[in-house]
Symmetry: C2
Subunit: 339 residues, 2 copies
DNA sequence: ACAGGGACGTTATACGTAACACTTCGGGTC
DNA sequence: GACCCGAAGTGTTACGTATAACGTCCCTGT
């Protein structure tokens, strides 16, 4: 009857219910107690349902001055890890009436320098995960409330940070390996300039240096199975005494290491122990199952979102790193178990 | 100086540049040719940069009546597949000035019945992937332009559909296995009520039925490594002649099948051939590498987004299924190769 | 009888932007 | 000299919502 091509507005609902637009807003916004009678409120709700009314979010956001939407910047979506972070963040966001927009930052999408141009949504805040420091200053330019995930607390320019206790995870790996008797270790490191990987290298070196007679060699590889395969193969065919264990910066690298070892005719864990970090589905898919460090990605996302909510409400975000847990499976054993 | 707590508006820029707000809108909106002098335009741009002006998206959206934002509904984020779909969709979206908001639909996030309540963003359209039919009608209720991914074209209530040619992938798998001489096949099916899995079952049954003397048994499992392990073990220890090949609905199920086979002391591919579907990173991480069907998730997302753009512009979306490709690796061999 | 106050609404306004309609002004045309 | 025209802007409005401020009416206590 009316111009039905366009979606109904609160005024249309008001007309249908025979009240003013303000009354509709009151009723639908649940602020009508003592201001509108029960019967009128019922009429309004009925009319709204009848017309299939949905409030125009753009108008609401403009009026309210906020959007209840935050941006989650992640380096990539090639592992379940960041999917988990997103899921966790989105869950607590939803509980608080927030939405989460995802921005996978590396090349691949749009003009990567500017997350905000590509995220059309108007934003109330930003959660940035595993960001390089230079990109951070670009983001800081916008005055949006910011929470950093998996980033150097010292270099975050005053933004709140939430971290997994990766350093402790590495300590647990090192202790496990040292306890088994390993002394020569190959560190298969992710060839990515990120604080989170620096921590792994530093902590591993420190742990091993504390025990006399240990030796750590480093190989670098891009985070892919093929990259890890090549780097591991190269490192293990190099001259010198062969390591007895490979510590990988993450599970995907470990999967590549497995393949290199198979190709070299070395058996896991008899000839070589291998550890990962992440505990992806991958870790239990490969044979033998991978000894790795379980990171609770969803909890990480949850904590990140909670921290951002705290910042938005002017509260102090909850501190403290998220504990991680070594999961010992079949890929580690005392050195020389085959002999 | 001014109330600096609030973000600068186009009016602030106008004041700074000594022009009207309308002129700012013209210049920054790139619609000033022949309406504003080059020098004035420069002054405006300068002032905008100076103040760090960012247009208020909520206001723009309200004025324009659209948001250049679409919702992508996916069943989960537990595999890279949907991450790929998102990446592809987001890429072409960005090329056209659109943003993509993600909504992983299953339990886990918010009041699952209503994607739109949880997606705070105002939306121009929806891409829904692998949706159950009943949820579809709920979505259809909102009159938003809709594109269905991986869904029954006949049951999509007139919405545009974009599909991978899964049926052809299954045909390729069947032909490959039949060509190797397999006649007794176990179908490890995903225990999920979704059209995409019905297609696999139907097509596989049809292909095998076309060859006399073939036999197909079906086991159902939730899409997880453990679930697949249990279902496969149960199916293979059941009485009757043992199958010589396991056709899995996806790679994750195949990884579970591998574990079951190891536990039963059966070797892949000598005692049992295995095939997957997806070609995730998992497929090359396990040993032997998995013969599977490669699905181009990013292309899928791209095509979905392109179709939605077409719908939004009143054009006819490009038809035709996306071709898929059998990738033969080490997990398939003639039956009885060990004997 | 009359002030006072709920109960039940309505009117008016502002949020920041884009676009339409209008004005001003200098120069070219007949 | 009257007329028009394009360049270069400006004034104003509307988008749909939420809320502050403002009216009624009627009831109730003293």
């Amino acid at each position: 009857m009316s111009r039905s091509s366009t979606r109904p507005t609160s005024r249309d609902v008001a007309r249908a219910a025979g009240v003013s637009q303000a009354a509709v807003s009151l009723v639908l916004g649940d602020k009508w107690r003592g201001r509108v009678s029960e019967t009128t409120a019922g009429r309004v709700r009925e009319a709204a349902r009848e017309l299939g009314y949905r409030p125009n979010l753009a108008a609401r956001n403009l009026r309210l001055g906020h959007t209840r939407t935050v941006l989650l910047v992640v380096p990539a979506l090639t592992t379940e890890f960041f999917a988990g972070v997103y899921t966790g963040a989105a869950r607590v966001a939803a509980e608080h009436g927030f939405g989460v927009v995802l921005y996978p930052s590396p090349e691949g999408i749009g003009p990567a320098r500017d997350p905000f141009a590509s995220a059309q949504a108007a934003l109330d805040g930003v959660i940035a995960s595993s960001m390089a420091a230079d990109a951070l200053t670009a983001i800081r330019g916008d005055q949006l409330p910011l929470v950093m995930l998996d980033s150097d607390p010292a270099g975050s320019l005053g933004a709140a940070t939430v971290n997994l206790d990766i350093a402790d995870g590495v300590r647990q790996v090192a202790a496990h390996l040292l306890g088994l008797g390993h002394r020569r270790v190959l560190h298969l490191a992710a060839d990515v300039p990120s604080w989170t990987f620096e921590v792994r290298a530093r902590e591993l070196a420190a742990c091993l240096a504390a025990v006399p007679g240990t030796e750590v060699r480093t190989a670098r590889a891009p985070i892919s199975i093929e990259g890890a395969l090549a780097a591991t193969e190269a490192a293990l065919t190099a001259p010198g005494p062969r390591p007895t264990a490979v510590v990988c910066d993450d599970d995907k690298l470990a999967a590549g290491a497995y393949k290199a070892l198979r190709r070299l005719g070395l058996r896991v864990p008899d000839d070589m122990s291998v550890t990962g970090l992440d505990d992806l589905a991958l870790a239990t898919a490969i044979d033998p199952e991978l000894t790795t460090v379980r990171l609770d990605a969803e909890l990480f996302g949850e904590r990140g979102m909670r921290a951002l909510l705290a910042v938005l409400e002017g509260r102090e975000p909850e501190g403290g790193d998220i504990p991680v847990e070594l999961v010992v499976r079949g890929s580690t054993a005392p050195p020389g178990a085959s002999a």
